[in-house]
Symmetry: none
Amino acid sequence: MAGAPPNPERPHTGRRRNEATHHAILDAALRLLAESDGEAVTIDAIAKAAGVGKQTVYRWWPSKGALLLDALTERSAIQVPLPDTGSVRADLQAVIEATFLGAQGKSTAPALRSLAREAAHDPHLAELLQTFTAQRRNAVRGLLIRGQQRGELAPGADLDLMLDQFYGVFWYRFLLGHQPLDQDAATRLTNAILADH
Amino acid sequence: MAGAPPNPERPHTGRRRNEATHHAILDAALRLLAESDGEAVTIDAIAKAAGVGKQTVYRWWPSKGALLLDALTERSAIQVPLPDTGSVRADLQAVIEATFLGAQGKSTAPALRSLAREAAHDPHLAELLQTFTAQRRNAVRGLLIRGQQRGELAPGADLDLMLDQFYGVFWYRFLLGHQPLDQDAATRLTNAILADH
Amino acid sequence: MAGAPPNPERPHTGRRRNEATHHAILDAALRLLAESDGEAVTIDAIAKAAGVGKQTVYRWWPSKGALLLDALTERSAIQVPLPDTGSVRADLQAVIEATFLGAQGKSTAPALRSLAREAAHDPHLAELLQTFTAQRRNAVRGLLIRGQQRGELAPGADLDLMLDQFYGVFWYRFLLGHQPLDQDAATRLTNAILADH
Amino acid sequence: MAGAPPNPERPHTGRRRNEATHHAILDAALRLLAESDGEAVTIDAIAKAAGVGKQTVYRWWPSKGALLLDALTERSAIQVPLPDTGSVRADLQAVIEATFLGAQGKSTAPALRSLAREAAHDPHLAELLQTFTAQRRNAVRGLLIRGQQRGELAPGADLDLMLDQFYGVFWYRFLLGHQPLDQDAATRLTNAILADH
DNA sequence: ATTTAATCGAGACGGTACGTCATGTCTTCGG
DNA sequence: CCGAAGACATGACGTACCGTCTCGATTAAAT
């Protein structure tokens, strides 16, 4: 994701990218993202924390958003499995539960929250974030389609609405924090989404 | 909302607040908010557009967010009625529809979007926004409770989840814009929320 | 100096000028001038310290400078006598000594210093100050002329230069404070000015 | 004068100071200082005139005063020679004349006047200015001491007073402008200072 | 071994917006 | 009409980040 050699024709000359530096930047970004929950994270601060020049950051990531997203996806472990048990209800419940619980991770939560906040200002990051979440969304849609093909969902079921119910409720609660995102909530949400099926 | 006399004991001395200025600021804020969809709105720009000193803005609003929220609530017409037809389904459908369509207003939509973006960075505004929306949320909850008392909803229905489905889907679609927020969507969402009732 | 009634034709209508207020303003000005040696004195601060509205200050004095000068001349006692002993040397020595010592007064010195500093920025005050000092300067010139007429000074003596030596040295030492302004200094300066007479 | 490398141990890392920018700032400062005789010169205006970011000014000069003094001393040519002809009278006359005439330079005069005015408000600048003038003062004192050693001045002559007569009259006339600072004035002042020698 | 080129930390640079401060004018109400 | 309180337009202040740029030093492949 971050930075290809500028000239792909020639094999490669000159000093190679320092992987330790790369990691240091991602680590620093993730740490600052987690520490300053809500407060803006500056590139200067990340570079300073990583013991790195600012230019080095800009060399490998086109925008602050790209860096933050990279930090969250590469270094933080948001591992949501995609089950295929043969039951839509079981599959959906598992995904929702994993999403809910995975987002609550001690360092993941504030970082993810900050990332969402940054995306509000940075159109580039917003697009990246959407591209990233679209993959997962499509995966979950696949899960629903399989259920529909098995006859568990009505042929005319509004899958997009179901997806939006899932992610809408998730982000709404995650960002506002006014209601829990625990196992019970996952069960209730699953039931609500699959109510008449 | 903005600025009560500091000392309620004394009748009030000194020059009074200039209402024309007040309105000019709110109008300018709303206009700039609507015009620059997504782009940040600066206090300098608002003051300049309103023909007002920056200090005058800071005198009456503690933060940029507070001003923007004020601009949106006082000057923009987000008039969502709270019907009481005797049918939960009809009531909820009306509210959802009004919310969906009201948010699409030509100048309201970009302003509301900008406001949400600003709230992502400004904790003060986030709180104000939450306080503001909590009122409407409580009103809608009242609507649901009435239906529950009439027996239209199960006694154990998770009203909070229902509310979050409504507002979660609304904000999710409003901010991402990947799915419509039209009358049909309102109907489908209503059905989904009240699925098993 | 400070403020005539706006309409001199009509005997006088309305509330009369409050002398206590007048004094309070001058006192506050003098006090602040003395306290904040070097630091700028603001009209707001004076008004606040006098328990007075800002407009009341502006009503009676055309500029901050005028007020400060008023404060120094009316309230502070810079009483330099104008002796006429029949000897230029004695007269000049007395004036210089009185000027040197008078300017060292505990509250006078910082106030005068601040006044001079203010005059550097306020052309209006500079003019007032010059008009004020011109009176004294002319008085001292008269003293020298009398000596010249008595034959104590050469007919072609450069009186202006003598005056500038006096005031130049005074202000230079007063503002920089690198050399004393005591009785001995007065004697030496007198001797230097009258050296070849 | 402005800004040595912060850490003398390390050879120096990072981009070097842009001398063109440095000069542009000093030139702009001097020009504005000369143009706006008396009126305050703002950092914003200097930065704008130099085509430079405000921060760049603040990076290299701790205060507006330091910048202005720098501008006057580095860019403007206040070249007062220090003669050593073997005659105190000739030496002193030359210095006074050069000082008088040098200060009258078309762009120097308003700049120097503005500088003095700024110093009245800015203690930091006042100190800098004093440090700067102390060098010249000491040089002139050296001139007098040489004359004293040659027996041209009495052993007990008050050199400090002589210096103060020089600079006191100079600044007094320069700032007030009520009397000329021409060659004739220089001669008269020289005579007055050395009257009884 | 030498050349060539890309990396690195450091930090200067032109901008833009911030929130605060003082100025001098104005408006309001109570005396 | 006077006086206290304080709102108002203006404009400078010094700070914080932004993203770009320029340094000298380092490192590795190509010659």
